[in-house]
């Protein structure tokens, strides 16, 4: 997978005076009595694209689910726009966070426009009331933002995996949230569709949408993240600029495999950083295995 260095990543200033969009303080979470996330803290600014990476079972999905309110928070606090989410109803929370799940096939062939319109649910006056014309306009704009308005009348179940994921992202945009929260949105997609989704996400983030994404692929983080949070066994081990954080040492530490982090020249003057996993044969070789970038 080729990844492109995000333009402007380097000069992205951290505005200290601006209030953080999301603050997670000492979050402890898990399933049942089993604690999986052991107190993580991080902040996120408006317009930021933050990736959480880590090995399977490191607690990144658990953390995400408890931030969304899908799992109970065992202890710790989560603030959105300086408001404690613990006091929020599920409906109010849905106006702040939009969750984009992995693509899955629903049992019924809903029309794409209807699927996107479901994103308006938390904004309806009540659960009984009808969608207004304004809701339909917002849903349409969300589709336009992802350039999928031509799919509006198609059946969701007929689309390719990548298109389905774009529809789910459009639904999340129609929710008009503060943050898009994604759990490995590209996990079940083929190479081309992964790239399609990531490119559109990248564009959204440049348009000012804040994204919090869990991914298993460091290349995805290199491609679109402003900041990377690395988790290991329920704690954050480091955080920072993707190019600073994604190093062969860290990759080896969290994934237990040897990785060569390289800058690849694309065309004449653009360098792209990418992770190259090394085969056992490569690592036996002192030339390449001993000393990574």
């Amino acid at each position: 997978m080729v990844s492109f260095k995000k333009p402007g990543t380097q000069e992205q200033p951290v505005e200290a005076e601006a209030p953080g969009l999301l603050q997670v303080q000492e979050l402890v979470a898990g399933y049942g009595r089993k604690e999986i996330v052991h107190g993580i803290s991080f902040e996120m600014d408006r317009g930021e694209f933050v990736c959480i990476i880590g090995a399977n079972g490191c607690g990144k999905t658990t953390a995400l689910r408890s931030i969304l309110g899908l799992l109970p928070v065992m202890s710790g606090k989560i603030f959105i726009n300086d408001v404690d989410t613990a006091s929020m109803s599920i409906r109010r929370k849905a106006r702040h966070f939009a969750y984009i799940p992995q693509v899955h096939v629903p049992p019924f062939p809903f029309k794409v426009a209807d699927v996107v319109l479901l994103g308006r649910t938390p904004h309806l006056a009540s659960s009984v009331s009808d969608v207004s014309k304004r809701d339909k306009v917002i849903a349409y704009q969300a589709m336009q933002q992802l350039s999928i308005e031509h799919l509006a009348e198609r059946e969701y179940t007929e689309l390719s995996g990548g298109q389905q994921q774009l529809v789910l992202i459009a639904r999340a945009l129609a929710q008009e949230p503060d943050i898009l929260v994604m759990d490995e949105p590209t996990a079940s997609l083929d190479f081309g569709n992964q790239q399609l989704v990531l490119t559109r996400l990248h564009k959204l983030s440049r348009d000012g949408v804040s994204v919090l994404m869990v991914t298993h692929d460091p290349d995805h983080a290199l491609f679109c993240a402003d900041r990377v949070i690395v988790m290991e066994q329920g704690v954050i081990i480091c955080t920072g600029n993707p190019v600073d954080v994604i190093t062969s040492e860290i990759m080896h530490r969290i994934y237990g495999t040897h990785v060569y982090v390289a800058d690849v020249m694309v065309g004449d003057c653009r360098a792209v950083r990418t992770c190259v996993p090394l085969m056992a044969a490569d690592t036996d070789d002192r030339e390449t295995g001993g000393r990574y970038l």
Binding site: R65, L68, G69, L70, I90, R91, R92, K93, A94, R95, F97, A98, Y99, P101, H104, P106, P107, F108, P109, F110, K111, D114, L118, G119, T121, P122, L124, S127, V128, D130, E155, T157, Q175, V181
Partner: protein, 355 residues
């Protein structure tokens, strides 16, 4: 929205069309003359007017009719006392079973689910059989059936709360457990029932029938049925969201526990009432939602009301067959499947799109 309202009205009148044709066919089948038919229709309308008169204005006499309409009193009585409540009940039950099925299919994210998934039918059957065994009268049989259905489903919900696992899985598992328990109970009752007298009554009851519906029956189920309909219809939008799964529904701001509870209560009210008054009528709750989905698509905002109309039309048609096909009435539960299966196969072939 106007367009949908219009479509709804069109479908209602479609339903009413069948409604009026039904007596006409019976009249023809019994060898009545053609212009007698129009008189019958007139009488039928008149009897409705009378019925409203009697119920709402407290008019004493049913036979107080305008002189311009010559009315055969016998036909009037037949239409007014037997056919009218029967048709109303058939329409209500058709609506109830199909709307409950459609709601469950969305809630359980499974197109193969029918309204008796959580044991409502099994519980109601057990209740009715118990009342039959104890030689209770018609009203008590209905009450027992209704309570049996409600008990079964509340048992399932209680089990689900106890287990506290995946809500959907817990409910389905609980439904299987409780359903099996009540079916075994029914079998035990059949075993101990008098083979000459009660066993046939039980067996016949279980096959479902609209044969002995009275005006009183109709009025008894009207209130709980209307309650069930309004509950389910109020959850139309949430059902759309819920059919995408628990997590997504929650993150879209839907209180999934509340929606699920409401849908279960609504569907159980409807199913229990239906079984209590007409016995077990299978298949319709599974097929009609599919049929409707093939016509109007899966959006519950439209699907749910349309399903009600299609369900009532379908059951009315089948009930007409049940009455007319043979000199003795055929149990409707049998007919819904015998007619429904080929019909469904035909529709499925014609519209192979996944639903």
């Amino acid at each position: 929205m106007l367009f949908f309202a219009l479509m709804g009205v069109a479908l209602i009148s479609f339903g009413l069309g069948r409604y009026f044709v039904a007596p006409a066919e019976i009249v023809r089948a019994t060898g009545e003359q053609l212009h007698q038919l129009t008189l019958d229709l007139g009488a039928f309308l008149q009897s409705i007017a009378n019925w409203f008169d009697v119920t709402f204005n407290g008019a004493k006499s049913v036979t107080a009719q305008s002189p311009s309409v010559i009315v055969d009193l016998k036909a009037n009585a037949a239409l007014f006392n037997i056919r009218f409540p029967r048709i109303v009940v058939v329409v209500l039950v058709g609506m109830a079973l199909s709307v409950a099925g459609a709601a469950y299919q969305g809630m359980f994210k499974n197109p193969l689910v029918s309204p008796d998934l959580l044991g409502a039918s099994a519980g109601a059957s057990f209740g009715a059989c118990l009342a039959l065994l104890l030689n209770y009268g018609n009203e008590l049989i209905q009450l027992f059936a209704f309570l049996g259905g409600m008990t079964a489903v509340f048992l399932v919900m209680w089990l689900n709360k106890m287990v506290r696992s995946d809500a959907i899985l817990g409910l389905i598992l609980g439904g299987i457990l409780v359903g099996t328990l009540f079916s075994s109970g029914t079998s035990i009752i059949k075993l101990v029932a008098d083979a000459d007298d009660k066993l046939p009554a039980i067996t016949f009851w279980l096959m479902g029938s609209f044969a002995s519906i009275t005006v009183r029956d109709m009025l008894t189920i009207l209130v709980p049925m209307l309650a069930g309909f309004s509950i389910l219809l109020s959850q139309r939008w949430s059902l759309n969201v819920l059919s995408f799964g628990e997590d997504e529904a929650k993150s879209l701001g839907v209180n999934t526990t509340r929606t699920r509870t409401l849908v279960i209560i609504g569907a159980t009210l409807l199913t229990s009432c239906s079984v209590a008054i007409a016995g077990v009528i299978g298949w319709i709750g599974l097929v009609v939602p599919h049929l409707t989905r093939a016509i109007v698509g899966p959006n519950y905002k439209i699907l749910l009301p349309t399903t009600m109309l299609v369900g009532s039309i379908f059951l009315l048609l089948v009930d007409n067959f049940a009455r007319l096909l043979y000199s003795v009435e055929i149990p409707i539960g049998l007919l819904t499947s015998i007619l429904g299966v080929p019909f469904f196969a035909f529709i499925y072939r014609k519209n192979m799109k996944g639903w």
